[in-house]
């Protein structure tokens, strides 16, 4: 057989027309790398994987341990407010409550403030599709054609801006943080912009073009659950108003699960807070608008720092350590089996 392949077709001899040409591809003889599962490669790959996973895992665990996080469930702490909100007719009554907590240590670095919701099915299909991206792009579209129903228009035909269930149910609690230094109360400066994706803020969400914002939204009405129209979301900052309001943009990014947290504010690192939050007593002052008891949900406010590996989730580190250990152990087991088999073979050879 080897002779056959090595000898080239004799030249000058007219080969019959049906004779296939002997290109390596057609003869299935393309040069190829033929990897084999040898004991050396298998063991080295297992041990290498193990070592890699273990080292990454340890690094991750160490770095996640440096993350500071405080989570406060305020759905019960403001029980009066939550009762008030159970009845939807009280929607325009204001309700404030405050929640105190104490930091035993300083939280250094960038501090992020989140609100968390539990049992809120943002990922329900009916909810997920209930939006009009075209409208949010600032285009003048007929939202009747979108999936915004039942939050498309009012009875009289005035379209909602923004339309859809997602926009309608936007989280509308306002949370302020106060630092109680001795007897004085200092409001912690919080940044409300720069929290969303740059592309969302600058490309995906656009206000309708007009000489001013309120005229841009003329002819539309606020969603039914909103207290104020969309062009009044942030009256102080023109670049944070209308559809390009950061809070709104963040809310519009639908979460993957029923329990989720969204970024709300960042601590502005100025004055006392240049290094983060110093230890001491703090108060959250919350204007309680968002009803959660009706769907048996909960609300949280969270303060957290961030490291290179993300937030305070230890899962990744632990998973790496576990799989690293598993790979290493497997490597040992395979070695044992191999040695045993080799001994047996040697025995048989004698």
């Amino acid at each position: 057989m080897k002779n056959k392949t090595s000898s080239p077709p004799r030249e000058g001899e007219a080969r019959p027309s049906r004779c296939p040409d002997n290109s390596a591809f057609k003869q299935q003889k393309l040069p190829a790398w033929k990897p084999q599962l040898t004991i050396a490669t298998v063991l080295s790959s297992f041990f290498l994987t193990g070592a890699f996973c273990l080292s990454v895992g340890v690094c991750l665990i160490l770095s996640t341990n440096s993350v500071r996080e405080i989570q406060i469930d305020y759905s019960d702490k403001c029980s009066d407010c939550s009762k008030l909100r159970e009845n939807s007719s009280n929607w325009n009554k204001e309700c404030h409550c405050s929640v105190n907590f104490m930091l035993k240590e300083d939280i250094l670095g960038d501090v992020f403030m989140y609100y968390g919701l539990q049992n809120f099915y943002q990922n329900h299909r009916r909810y997920v599709i209930s939006r009009s991206d075209a409208q949010l792009l600032g285009r003048n579209v007929n939202i009747q054609k979108s999936y915004c129903a039942p939050f498309t228009t009012y009875r009289n035909g005035t379209p909602m801006a923004p339309c859809g269930a997602i926009a309608n149910s936007m989280f509308n609690d306002t949370i302020d943080l106060f630092y109680n230094l001795k007897s004085s109360v200092i409001q912690v400066p919080l940044l409300k912009t720069g929290n969303s994706w740059w592309t969302d803020k600058n490309v995906k969400f656009r206000n309708p073009k007009s000489y001013n914002l309120s005229s841009a939204f003329a002819g539309t009405a606020r969603p039914p659950y909103w207290q104020k129209p969309v062009y009044l979301l942030d009256e102080e900052d023109e670049r944070n108003n209308g559809y390009i309001n950061d809070d709104f943009i963040i809310w519009m990014r639908v979460s993957a699960f029923a329990t989720f947290r969204n970024l709300y504010r960042r601590v502005s690192r100025i004055r006392q807070f240049a290094d983060g939050l110093p230890a001491g007593n703090y108060t959250f002052r919350i204007s309680y608008n968002f009803p959660v008891t009706k769907f048996k949900g909960r609300k949280y406010v969270i303060l957290s720092t961030v490291v290179w590996s993300g937030g305070s989730n230890p899962f990744l580190g632990i998973a790496y350590v576990v799989s690293g250990t598993a790979a290493t152990l497997t490597g040992f087991v395979i070695t044992a089996i191999h040695l045993k088999l080799r001994k047996k073979k040697a025995y048989f050879q004698k």
Partner: protein, 1185 residues
């Protein structure tokens, strides 16, 4: 076009019921017969258009769509698509509509193109010019305008435009030569004869003046049968009637050769020609892989339905609390609220079905089809399977059965032309007990075995007979090519005989005007007048001629098989010749006996009358002829016998040995006589020296009853087998069986015949039981249909083994069509076998590579392809299923529409297709060298339930890893993009689409890398495809998320992929999840390899080992494993001695109970001829010498 077809059909169906349609009357040249003879009823016949196309321009779309949606899979996808269109479903109809549209379009284009080609061919055929005779003039018209009754002129090298009755030719003797290569593949020239009364008409005017009617049967598909009658009217006289047979019928598709021109009258036109009637769609064969694929599909369909059901039920349980069903933030629309609960539930069920329908991928069918179609090219391209001598390579007629080639358990092979060359060489003739061998004279060599051979010179009386013998042979001549004086005949036997006789000094010159001229050794020309030919048929197994010698004596010479001659012989040196014949037969030579008788003039005229009557009969002509032949051919004087050697094809023995080592049982089915066939079997190592031969022949059944014979045989076989299994611990007992069974056609039909008492299955079961325990079976004296019967018997036996039939002649077609895989040898007996086969190869030896290498590869490839497809779709869809538990069973999709659509089409399709084309788990050379590797994949090993369940669970495991891995990453604290990396220094949130994209990214990488791990053969194309498709996924995702797509009404994927990639934890998570999902599979592979390696894996290991220490041994020799040694007996001396001891035991046992098998042990070393090139010592056949 359709009309004519319909008419044909109608007339054909009517034919059975009404008598008048049974024959048709044709008025030659459309001339009415003279008044008073018969009523002139113009009959309507279809025109001469050939329609082989399936579609027309306007019915293509509906008809093609109908054809396509008749496939169950396409129909299923259509239903899913329609459901998506009708109800509000989670995925857009595009996701299933696009792939379906793609599949349908590609198939439609392919079929449309093929049909267009057919149209083109039809048109070319229908429009080619034809010469008509009209009013005594030659007219050119298009072929499709030809009508029944037209007189047509055909020139040399033209094809006949329809079926013609041959009226006259430019050759004086009224013959013409024709090749039917495009009809049945026989390229030899055949002689046809013009009608006796019309052969004198040589020009247009004469032929136009012909006044005749033809009565003939309605068209039949049989190419070689035709009965008719022509009535020629000579001015006012009674018409003269002449019989017409197939020798007068020129078939459409055949080509005129060596004849300047001929005239003929059209009798069958268009779709009624025999060629058109022979276009028959072969029945669809389905491979074992396809069957198991369908079973898996059903399993997945059940999984799909149960998933949808579970989710629907859970949805309504979960929704039973109103705060979940309709929370304030997520209200229903009015129509939704009002909808009836039952209807809602049903819609939900359908929606879940749609959501999970990707588990049965459309693309799998496309990929499988493409893999088969493209893969089959490797077979046709294979240089090793190309035959230099004939210039033929393998042909693939259907690519549906590629993988079946790797699953063969039984090979049924024809003998002549398949195992042997069908290239006859005259060896000797024996006349009245004297043996003449041409070689003695030619080279003056002294023969090794001279006893009983007289030199030719010493037998003057004999030489006269030689001449007679010769003249008999000469009559079977078909054509004498004038230029080269080479005898060309359709039967290789006859060529050999004539050439052999020439070497003995008698040269057959030619047949001229019914006179045969023979040049004898004294250079005198002797003439014999040829009076009658009683042609050959396979039932009589003989043929005769009646000749008149120059002295005026009339002789009848008959040649035929010994079994058909000896009973008709009344004198001659019967015993001597019989012993010679049998001796020759044992040596594997083809023998013919020749007998003669002298006829008186009276006897001759009687015989002639009988023949003439029978030949004129319109009905049952065959039967009547046979009766007449029977009457004439009797009371012979035995003249002698001839022996012709049919050499074995090169490497036939090697191939059979390899097949047997591969665990394939080889059966030889032949029409030849037992002794010849058995000798061939020994020569090609089907029977080995130590094979015990069991006989189940008519002779034995005459001695004992069939019942006893069968029971005795089964007892023998089973006892022997029992002792074997006790001795050896390895289960591979097929190697140790040293039984060969010989059965003949008569015995077989006894076995197959249902018994009177109704217990018909009994003998069959017993017979099957015996066969199953024999390593080789030889069936001789088989009629073509019996061959198919045997194949069917095995095919339907309780193990349902996969069968392969291989043959080269028309007599093998039935068996080729019956077997799971039919293989035709592109041989000398015409192309009929090759045309009807699934694959055609030039030589028997190519079967080895075809099965052991290509078949093995095809099977390994397609089984991985099927399993992998299911696996990757489980991985794909199971996370979606799990996600339903987290999104309130609301049918929210996990992945974006683009991902859902493209996953199977482009992200993961090409690597597996390429794997299906290129994978070589071991090298082709190794597969060829180690036939036992074939056993690793036998019995559909890679698609058993265990393998299927493993793959499914692997898929589920991986899906769980993807989903929950990502879930925990997202849970509690968010996977966040690292603020520091971004210029805005923020800490951003990921939503549900990011989650889906993360899972999907892990998914695409995992399934692609899983395939990479399974690939053993990495060419640059594999690298390109695997890494290329991953790169393509990344690039596509970047692009898909990088633009606000104006035509979409959602922009949910905008920048999702980029944001995910800018997050460090996401990277870490992806790497971890890929590793974790791949590790178990690697671990399983490593452990299985270490603990329970298959032969293939041992070879892989050993070949590497061997390569390292440049070893001269085969890989097997390097193996140290004791297990292996036991499984391959032929390579180990220990095994061989073992088998010898078995045989001793057996002999001993036989000694005790000898009467059971009287003929089995009649081996004699006497017959061992050292020069024959093969010998058999331990066993042989009992012959009467």
């Amino acid at each position: 076009m359709d009309c004519s077809l319909l008419r044909t059909l109608v007339s054909r169906y009517c034919a059975g019921e009404e008598n008048w349609v049974d024959s048709r009357t044709i008025y030659v040249g459309h001339r009415e017969p003279p008044p008073g003879t018969e009523a002139y009823i113009p009959q309507r016949f279809p025109d001469n258009r050939i329609v082989s196309s399936k579609y027309t321009f306007w019915n293509f779309v509906p008809k093609n769509l109908f054809e396509q949606f008749r496939r169950i899979a396409n129909f299923y996808f259509l239903i899913i698509f329609l459901v998506q269109l009708i109800i509000d479903t989670p995925t857009s109809p595009v996701t299933s509509g696009l792939p379906l549209l793609f599949v349908i379009t590609v198939t439609a284009i392919k079929q449309g193109y093929e049909d267009w080609l057919r149209h083109k061919a039809d048109n070319a055929m229908n429009q080619c010019p034809v010469h008509f005779i009209q009013h005594g003039k030659l007219v050119r018209k298009q072929s499709r305008k030809l009508r029944v009754g037209d007189i047509v002129m055909v020139k040399e090298d033209e094809t006949f435009p329809c079926d013609l009755i041959f009226l006259s030719s430019s050759r004086g003797d009224g013959t013409c030569f024709v090749t039917t290569a495009s009809l049945d593949g026989e390229s030899s020239h055949k002689t046809y004869y013009a009608v006796q009364d019309t052969k004198a008409f040589h020009n247009e005017q004469e032929i136009d003046a012909l006044h005749a009617t033809i009565e003939c049967e309605q068209p039949q598909p049989d190419l070689y049968k035709f009965v008719g009658r022509i009535n020629v009217y000579h001015d006012r006289n009674e018409p003269t009637a002449r019989p017409l047979g197939s020798e007068n019928l020129l078939l459409r598709g055949a080509t005129l050769k060596n004849t300047e021109k001929i005239f003929g009258v059209a009798i069958y036109t268009g779709m009624e020609t025999k060629m058109a009637l022979n276009y028959q769609a072969k029945s669809q064969k389905r491979s074992a892989v396809e069957k198991s694929m369908n079973v898996f599909l059903i399993v997945y369909l059940c999984i799909l339905i149960s998933k949808a059901l579970i989710n629907t039920v859970l949805k309504y349980v979960w929704q039973s609390e109103p705060f979940r069903d309709e929370p304030w933030y997520n209200q229903k629309t009015e129509p939704e609220r009002k909808r009836n609960l039952f209807l809602r539930a049903f819609t939900d069920f359908l929606a879940f079905m749609v959501l999970f329908n990707y588990i049965i991928p459309v693309s799998m069918y496309v990929t499988v089809e493409m893999q088969k179609f493209l893969g089959s090219y490797f077979l046709t391209w294979d240089e090793e399977m190309f035959d230099e001598d004939t210039g033929e390579g393998p042909l693939v007629n259907t690519s549906d059965l590629n993988e079946e080639l790797g699953q063969i358990e039984y090979v049924f092979t024809d003998k002549t032309g398949t195992l042997t060359e069908n290239n006859m060489e005259f060896v000797e003739c024996c006349i009245e007990g004297h043996v003449y061998v041409p070689h003695v004279i030619c080279n003056g060599q002294i023969l090794h075995d001279c006893t009983g051979i007289d030199m030719i010179d010493s037998s003057p009386g004999g030489s006269g007979k030689v001449k007679d013998d010769d003249s008999v042979d000469g009559l079977k001549k078909n054509q004498l090519s004038r230029r080269s004086c080479i005898y060309i005949s359709s039967s290789p036997d006859e060529v050999a005989l004539v050439e052999g006789i020439q070497r003995l000094g008698y040269t057959y010159l030619r047949l001229k005007d019914n006179f045969m001229e023979i040049l004898n050794r004294e250079n005198n020309i002797e003439k014999f007048e040829l009076l009658e030919v009683l042609s050959f048929d396979s039932v009589r197994r003989r043929m005769s001629v009646i000749v008149k010698s120059s002295t005026g004596d009339i002789f009848l010479f008959c040649k035929g098989a010994d079994s058909s001659i000896f009973p008709r012989v009344k004198e001659g040196k019967i015993d001597q010749i019989r012993s010679r014949v049998e001796r020759n037969a044992v040596e594997g030579l083809r023998t013919l006996c020749v007998a003669y008788k002298k006829l008186t003039a009276e006897e001759y005229s009687n015989a002639q009358k009988l023949l003439q009557n029978a030949k004129l009969a319109l009905q049952d002509r065959e039967k009547k002829l046979a009766e007449v032949y029977e009457k004439i051919e009797r009371d012979f004087i035995l003249l002698g016998a001839t022996a012709v050697e049919d050499r074995l094809q090169e490497k036939a023995a090697d191939t059979i040995e390899a097949l047997q080592k591969a665990g394939i049982k080889v059966w030889v089915l032949t029409g030849d006589k037992m002794e010849t066939a058995a000798a061939t079997c020994y020569a090609c190592k089907l029977f080995r020296r130590n094979t015990q031969i069991l006989e189940l022949t008519t002779k034995k059944i005459e001695e004992q009853s069939l019942h006893d014979v069968l029971f005795d045989l089964s007892k023998t076989v089973l006892r022997h087998n029992g002792s074997l299994t006790r001795d050896t611990f390895s289960g591979l007992s097929t190697d140790m069986q040293d039984y060969g069974l010989i059965i003949d056609g008569a015995a077989l039909s006894l076995i197959m015949k249902p018994r009177q008492d109704g217990s018909s299955g009994n003998y069959r079961e017993l017979f099957l039981e015996i066969c199953r325990n024999c390593s080789a079976v030889l069936c001789c004296r088989m009629a073509p249909l019996q061959k198919a019967q045997i194949v069917k018997l095995i095919k339907l036996s309780k193990e349902h083994p996969i069968t392969l039939a291989i043959g080269d002649g028309a007599n093998d077609v039935s068996m080729i069509l019956e077997a799971h895989v039919g293989i035709g040898i592109i041989g000398k007996e015409g192309r009929q076998a090759a045309r009807n086969s699934d694959y055609a190869i030039p030589k028997f030896k190519h079967l080895k590579k075809m099965l052991l290498v290509h078949g093995h590869f095809y099977y390994v490839r397609i089984s991985e392809l099927v399993q992998y497809f299911f696996y990757k779709n489980v991985c794909f869809i199971f996370p979606q299923f799990l996600y339903q538990f987290f999104c309130g069973f609301s049918q929210q999709t996990l992945y974006d529409t683009a991902y859902l659509t493209l996953y199977n089409i482009s992200f993961t399709s090409l690597p597996i297709l390429l794997y299906g084309l290129m994978e070589q788990h071991v090298s082709a050379d190794t597969l060829k060298r180690e036939p036992s590797l074939y056993r690793d994949v036998a019995k559909n090993a890679l698609l058993r339930w265990r393998a299927f369940i493993y793959w499914t669970f692997l898929g589920v495991f991986d899906a769980v890893v993807f989903f929950f891995g990502a879930y925990f990453l997202f849970d509690n604290t968010i996977v966040t993009s690292n603020g520091q990396l971004m210029t805005t220094s923020t800490h951003m949130m990921f939503g549900n689409w990011t989650f889906g994209t993360l899972v999907f990214t892990v998914l695409v990488f995992t399934v692609t890398l899983k395939l990479a791990l399974d690939t053993h053969y990495w060419t640059w194309i594999n690298h390109f495809m695997i890494w290329g498709s991953l790169v393509f996924y990344v690039i596509f995702s970047l692009l898909w998320g990088g633009i606000i797509w104006p035509f979409l009404n959602y922009q949910r994927m905008y920048y999702v992929f980029m944001q995910m990639l800018s997050s460090g934890p996401a990277w870490l998570g992806i790497i971890l999840l890929i590793t974790v999902s791949l590790l178990p599979d690697v671990l399983k592979k490593v452990l299985c390899r270490q603990l329970w390696p298959t032969a293939t894996e041992r070879i892989q290991k050993a070949s590497r080992h061997c390569r390292e220490h440049i070893s001269e041994f085969t890989p097997l020799a390097c193996l140290k494993s004791p297990r292996y040694r036991s499984s391959d007996c032929s390579n180990s001396p220990a095994r061989r001695s073992n088998s010898h001891s078995k045989k001793m035991m057996f002999t001993h046992w036989r000694g005790v109970d000898y009467s059971v098998l009287p003929s089995v042990f009649g081996y004699s070393n006497k017959h061992c001829r050292s020069s024959a090139g093969y010998r058999y010592s331990g066993s042989g056949l009992e012959t009467s010498v």
